[in-house]
């Protein structure tokens, strides 16, 4: 038996209430009944006294002891009186049973008047009531009343209990039990007993059924929604997983949140290793240009729009350089900080293609030196970028002597070989930051950065000329020495724009060609003639 069950609770409550009522009411009624009974008994004694009053008065009037004795004896015959006496003229003229002193009780007494003069008191009739008996009777009577009441209350309580059980507790308990066995979604409903159709229990059952229906509908909707979400998720996950582009989420500080397989494949980062050490800076780990990547991330966070760039990623030291195009987009601000989505795809091939195109556009295909356009734009750029009164540039125009003869005598291949060799020598003799270009035919252009003083330029020119003393094997076993004429002009001393500097270098070179060949000359603006300085041979 479940102590918490409804009808046990109700039963206990009703029983407790009934007990309470019984105790209270029986106490009250016992008291009242006792008092009533007691008062009745006292009244009986009083009436008894009144009955014998006339006779007692006669006895007291004439002082007749016999009559007085008869009266008191008669009185003590009653069981509610234990003693009686008649007093006349301060003298007891009749007494029977216990005296006041024995019983230690209060007397009940009445005045005796003269039979022929109501105004004259002739004595007193006093009795000792049987208080113990009176009390006992009063108790019995009161007890009977109380027990009767208690029995009545008990019967009423029992009836109430049965009614409550029948009308409320049992149907509720049944309802609860049936509801307990129903799982929302199994389609079961509660049925209403005819007895409760229309009352609160019926209403409750109906409401529960309606609720069950609503819950089932909602569950079904939820199930379908979940199914759709699962489908979508599968699709998106497929896109994410199968994408050839590396997709990854990073925090502002560069720690990786998640990434797809393509990301790990592209970057060569070990996925399992990455998951163990979550706090690494993945940006620094992946990108060679990580500072640029981090600044892109910051930029996208500040502007709240995607930013992209081609970035190099770290590879094994011996592996070729690899490029990715990377787009950073701010995703959302969470409690852990801002998150950025990155999408990267391999653009190494495109980069290489671009490189080739640029080379084609800028390089001389034979010698690998810059071509005319590249050289001209480089010169222009250098001059434009040069601060006023800053560094000096030296422009050297070089023309090979006897190239036409070699070309005509030994063929184009020999000519090409000469050109390639000269180009390599020139490249070797100047710094990497200096421009070395083939303008076309056998004409070369050098732009020396940080030319310094004229002496230094002359030394370089002399080194170039000296280097041509080594013969070139144009055919197996055929050696030829090639001389060259070098015209030099300085920026900004000999011209403040690329065109004039080149023109003046050109003039200096033609001056060398006309005179001695295999020499160099520096443009001399002083006498408007080409000054020449002939190196000793």
């Amino acid at each position: 038996m479940n102590i918490k069950s409804l009808h046990i609770k109700v039963s206990l409550s009703v029983a407790a209430a009934a007990l309470f009522v019984v105790v209270l009411s029986s106490q009250f009624f016992y008291q009242r009944s006792y008092e009533n009974s007691f008062a009745d008994s006292e009244r009986s004694v009083q009436q008894l006294l009144e009955t014998v009053q006339a006779t007692a008065a006669i006895a007291a009037y004439v002082g007749n002891r016999e009559l007085a004795q008869q009266v008191v004896t008669g009185l003590t015959q009653n069981d509610i009186v234990v003693g009686a006496k008649i007093i006349a003229n301060n003298e007891i003229i009749g007494q029977d049973g216990k005296t006041t002193a024995d019983a230690k009780q209060q007397l009940i007494s009445i005045r005796l008047n003269a039979p022929f003069d109501e105004k004259e008191a002739v004595g007193e009739l006093a009795v000792v009531p049987n208080f113990p008996l009176i009390a006992l009777r009063a108790r019995d009577s009161a007890m009977a009343t109380a027990i009767g009441l208690a029995a009545q209350a008990a019967v009423v309580a029992l009836l109430v209990l049965i009614m409550v059980y029948w009308m409320m507790t049992r149907p509720l308990s049944n309802l609860s039990g049936r509801l307990h066995r129903i799982t929302p979604g199994d389609g079961n409903r509660l049925n209403v007993a005819n007895l409760h159709r229309g009352d609160e229990i019926g209403l409750l059952t109906g409401d529960i059924n309606a609720l069950l229906h609503t819950v089932e509908t909602m569950l079904e909707e939820e199930r379908q929604l979940r199914h759709r979400v699962e489908l979508l998720e599968t699709r998106f996950r497929g896109i994410f997983e199968d994408s050839s582009a590396g997709i990854f989420l990073v925090r502002e500080q560069g720690t990786l949140v998640t990434a797809n397989p393509a990301f790990f494949h592209l970057t060569g980062v070990d996925e399992s290793l990455q998951q163990k050490t979550g706090d690494n800076n993945i940006i620094a780990q992946v990108f060679l240009d990580h500072e640029q990547a981090l600044s892109l991330i910051k930029l996208s966070l500040i502007t709240k729009r995607p930013h992209s760039a081609d970035l190099r990623i770290r590879t094994q030291s011996d592996a070729p350089e690899r490029w990715v195009h990377c787009i950073f987009s701010p995703v959302a601000n969470t409690q852990q900080g801002s998150t950025i989505e990155g999408v990267m795809y391999d653009v190494t091939q495109r980069k290489h293609a671009e490189e080739r195109i640029r080379e084609l556009a800028e390089k001389d295909s034979l010698t690998g030196l810059s071509n005319r356009q590249a050289a001209e734009s480089a010169l222009e750029e250098l001059i434009n970028q040069a601060p006023v009164g800053g560094k000096e540039l030296a422009v050297m125009l070089i023309d090979l002597d006897r190239f036409k003869y070699i070309n005509d005598t030994y063929g184009h291949d020999a000519g090409d070989k000469v050109l390639i060799t000269i180009a390599a020598r020139l490249r070797k003799l100047v710094r990497d930051s200096d421009v070395v270009a083939r303008l076309g035919g056998d004409e070369f252009l050098l732009v020396l950065n940080h030319a310094g003083n004229i002496g230094m330029v002359q030394r370089i020119a002399q080194k170039i000329l000296d280097a041509q003393q080594a013969p070139i094997e144009i055919h197996p076993g055929v050696l030829e020495k090639i001389g060259m004429s070098i015209g030099i002009a300085l920026y900004p001393d000999h011209g403040d724009n690329p065109l004039s500097v080149r023109k003046h270098a050109d003039q200096a070179m033609y001056a060398v060609k006309r005179q001695s060949k295999n020499n160099y000359a520096i443009y001399n603006p002083g006498d408007a003639e080409v000054a020449e300085e002939v190196a000793s041979r």
Binding site: T55, I58, A59, Y61, V62, G63, N64, E66, L67, Q70, P115, F116, D117
Partner: protein, 143 residues
């Protein structure tokens, strides 16, 4: 002197006639030293409460025969009770024992003779001329 007495007698009779008419006379033997009795004393004597005059001389009340109108009038006047009530009173006392009601006589003359003979006697008679050997101790007027 005779004139004076006559005047006094006339005055007295006039006064008497002005008072309520006294019909019953309570009499005792002339030798009795008692001259007058209170109403209450007469009740106590006739109802058996006391058996002596106030002067401690023994007293014996004498009664008329039961059923006479004079007797009923006497008790009615004296105690306010009916003859039957008085008889019941006596019956109670007689039943208890040792007490007896006053001795009864057939008429006034028998009573007067008994009072005249007995020095302790006391009785009541209707208003009438009385012999010298009895004297009035109280006059009762029926109300």
């Amino acid at each position: 002197m005779r004139n004076l007495l006559l005047i006094f007698t006339l005055l007295l009779s006039g006064l008497m006639s002005a008072l309520p008419h006294a019909e019953i006379l309570v009499i005792v033997n002339a030798s009795n030293s008692t001259t007058t009795l209170e109403h209450k004393q007469i009740v106590d004597l006739f109802m058996g409460r006391v058996s002596a005059f106030p002067n401690k001389q023994p007293a014996q009340p004498l009664d008329l025969k039961a059923g006479t109108p004079e007797r009923a009038a006497f008790y009615k006047t004296l105690t306010g009770k009916s003859e039957a009530q008085v008889d019941a009173y006596w019956a109670t006392l007689v039943f208890a024992g040792r007490m007896s009601p006053p001795k009864q006589f057939t008429d006034d003359s028998a009573l007067i003779q008994a009072v005249a003979r007995e020095p302790a006697a006391i009785a009541y008679v209707s208003r009438q001329p009385l012999p010298k050997n009895v004297k009035i101790v109280m006059e009762l007027s029926a109300r």
